[in-house]
């Protein structure tokens, strides 16, 4: 047996790569293909049963109806806002962890950042619901200044999602900064650059792939989220809600499939754009 394998390297390679490729093909490409195909069918409006007749109506509706454009843009802007906020918040934290904190403090901070990931998503989202509520802490803090809580809406959604996904941005940034040798910072200073110039010319460019890695998380997780929006988003709906509503309440799986191609396309475009910067090479 081993002799046969030894004489036939192609067979060996096939046996080695076969199962993972099969898995990739079935679970990943297969699921995507199934999704796309489902989008070309329709659902019976009454029973919700899928009717296997080929039609582009779902895509026509998704791309021609204004409401889906509005929702897409809202979702996209939310994802961008969440990503930018997370990047801005994560950078100083990651910088402190990687370059300033003592090894002990570093460990504690990593634990502190990872701990919230253990808590249930729902618990955290509902905690923010409490924060933003009319009798919540934000209202209480804002009251003396004559302000009130922004209430449930896009602001609350962005804040909640930015909170939920922050660890996914901090960790790659921290790893990226850890890998950034101190000698690079010293070299920059040595060559005449102050802290700001070093930040701009060395730290940020070297960190860029890590930011991209983090942004893929924050961006795609936001694109797909529908729960936080439901909890703190007020009347707003995101693409995720449209998909959820069409699957669970609309009984219209094909239309949901058509809508869910939007975030898939957005992510593909995003990844292609990122690829051009070369950031993925260093991932």
């Amino acid at each position: 047996m081993s002799g046969v394998l030894h004489r036939h390297p192609r067979l060996r390679l096939g046996l080695l790569l076969g199962p993972p490729m099969l898995w990739l093909g079935v679970a990943y490409l297969g699921a995507l293909a199934a999704l796309f195909i489902t989008a070309l069918w329709t659902a019976d409006g009454f029973t919700g049963n899928i009717q296997r007749e080929w039609t582009l109506d779902n895509f026509k509706d998704v791309f021609s109806l204004e409401v889906y454009r509005t929702i897409t843009i809202r979702t996209l802007l939310t994802a961008v806002a969440v990503t930018v906020i997370d990047a801005a918040l994560a950078f100083p934290v990651a910088l402190y962890m990687a370059k300033v904190a003592s090894p002990r403090a570093q460990r504690l901070l990593v634990i502190a950042i990872l701990t919230p990931l253990w808590a249930s998503y729902l618990v955290k989202a509902y905690a923010w619901r409490g924060m933003f509520s009319a009798d919540g802490p934000i209202a209480w803090l804002a009251d003396p200044f004559g302000l009130s809580t922004p209430g449930y809406g896009l602001v609350a959604t962005v804040v909640t999602l930015a909170y939920l996904w922050l660890p996914y941005m901090i960790l790659p940034m921290y790893a990226g900064l850890e890998r950034l040798p101190n000698s690079l910072l010293e070299a920059s200073a040595d060559l005449g650059a102050g802290a700001r110039v070093t930040l701009r010319r060395v730290v940020l460019p070297v960190l860029f792939p890590a930011v991209v890695a983090g942004s893929i998380f924050t961006f795609s997780l936001t694109l797909g989220d529908y729960i936080a929006v439901k909890i703190v988003g007020g009347t707003n709906q995101m693409l995720g809600n449209v998909i959820y509503d069409n699957v669970l309440t609309g009984n219209n799986l094909p239309f949901a499939a058509a809508v869910s191609t939007i975030p898939v396309v957005i992510m593909l475009v995003y990844l292609a754009a990122v690829r051009r910067t070369g950031a993925l090479d260093n991932l």
């Binding site: 199934a34 919700g48 439901k230």
Partner: protein
């Protein structure tokens, strides 16, 4: 070059596999909807041929119940509110309960085949029957069925061609809840959440389901007779557009929509919502100064039916549950807890003083005033034949647009 070819090959393989998988996945549904029964339903559909039980055997074990919140209480919410435990003791069937929030959710969940019985409202029942997700029910095997009000039997939403698909459970109206500390004077009309919504802008709430369009249609039916709305579930395109406009105007003042009843409770308790549509059971749960009224325009409402899944493996426990839930004791307990009229008149002997009168139990003419949730279909339910009406799919689309 070789690498490219391999990739293409993998993709093609994946695609082929996906096609065959997808084909397998929908095979069942396709077969179910094939016409092989002669009787027609009100939507112009033919229910699939599904066997009905003709005798009962020993109870099997675990019963999975899909219910509206508050319909299957086991004492975990309130120790005194428990009609599941007695059932378990009597029948030996272990009950697991899943609550759903909208009729649409119930329809979707029933498609999974994981639930044995369901409490379905009128906007879900026919869809379940037509899709073959529920089985016809042999009422002879349910002793308590004989006691139920006759005007609830053989209705368009619970039977097809004279065959019952479940047992009536109870009926009630969607109410208007308001925070008594904030909303003054007390509202008497749905106007509070439509034209007057701006008074409590940002603190108005509404039910997050396309079926809520009927609430707007009902309000328009009473306030704008020119539109010619006779039945809030039979809207032609213009009438639907008018309802959508009303709801879009309302949306400006809505803080958030609710479908999860826990969310509405928390919103009223925190003061984020102060006025909006509700169910009596939510009023019972809410720990804040709230009150609920039946506004002068009347209301949409529900008439619920307990149904049995066509895929159940525990038919005996399922029949036992149906018999139990409409027993005078259980029916009375549910009715009082949820805030609806019981379907079994004997339950009225067990409810608190005046309860059944308050909910007009057995009052056929009052029951007719509630506009029970029904699935809007192309054939106008109000009998018009000169126009075609908007379907539930249209409503779903409209609802997405309203929320924007």
């Amino acid at each position: 070059m070789r690498k490219k070819r391999t990739l293409a090959g993998t993709a093609a393989f994946g695609l082929a596999l996906a096609l065959s998988l997808a084909a397998c996945g929908t095979e069942d549904a396709g077969d179910d909807s094939s016409p092989d029964s002669a009787s027609e339903g009100p939507g112009g559909f033919v229910p699939p041929d599904i066997a009905m039980a003709d005798s009962l055997g020993d109870n099997e074990g675990t019963l999975s119940v899909l219910a509206w919140p508050g319909y299957a209480e086991d004492g975990s919410t309130d120790k005194a509110v428990d009609w599941v435990t007695p059932f378990e003791k009597q029948t030996g069937c272990d009950v697991s309960v899943k609550y759903f929030n909208t009729s649409d959710e119930a329809v979707t969940l029933m498609k999974s085949g994981q639930y044995d019985v369901v409490s379905a409202s009128g906007d879900a029942t026919l869809r379940l029957i037509a899709a073959g997700d529920v089985a016809p029910v042999n009422t002879d095997l349910i002793p308590n069925y004989a006691d139920e009000y006759d005007f609830l039997k053989d209705r368009p939403w619970n039977s097809v061609g004279g065959q019952m698909y479940g047992v009536p459970h109870g009926y009630g109206a969607n109410l208007l809840m308001y925070n008594t500390d904030v909303v003054k004077p007390a509202p008497t009309s749905w106007r509070a959440v439509f034209e007057d919504a701006s008074t409590y802008s940002g603190k108005v709430t509404a039910y997050d389901s396309p079926i809520y369009i009927a609430d707007a249609a009902l309000y328009l039916m009473k306030t704008q007779p020119d539109l010619g709305i006779k039945d809030p579930y039979a809207l032609d395109a213009d009438q639907l557009a008018a309802a959508v406009d009303l709801l879009k105007a309302q949306k400006e003042h809505v803080g958030e929509y609710w479908s999860d009843y826990l969310k509405e409770i928390s919103a009223f308790e925190s003061g984020d919502s102060v006025v909006g549509t509700t169910w009596q059971v939510i009023v019972n749960y809410t720990k804040a100064n709230v009150e609920a009224i039946l506004p002068e325009e009347g209301a949409t409402g529900w008439s619920d039916t307990w149904m049995i899944s066509s895929k159940t493996e525990v038919p005996n426990c399922a029949y036992a549950w149906l018999n139990h839930i409409i027993s005078p004791e259980a029916n009375a307990a549910v009715a009082e807890w949820f805030g609806e009229a019981p379907a079994n008149p004997k339950a009225c002997d067990l409810t608190s003083e005046g309860f059944c009168d308050g909910y007009h139990a057995g009052d056929e003419s009052y029951a007719d005033q509630i506009h029970y949730w029904t699935t809007p279909i192309e054939q106008c339910l109000d009998g018009r034949t000169d126009v075609s009406c908007t379907t539930y799919q249209d409503w779903t689309q409209a609802w997405t647009e309203i929320k924007g």
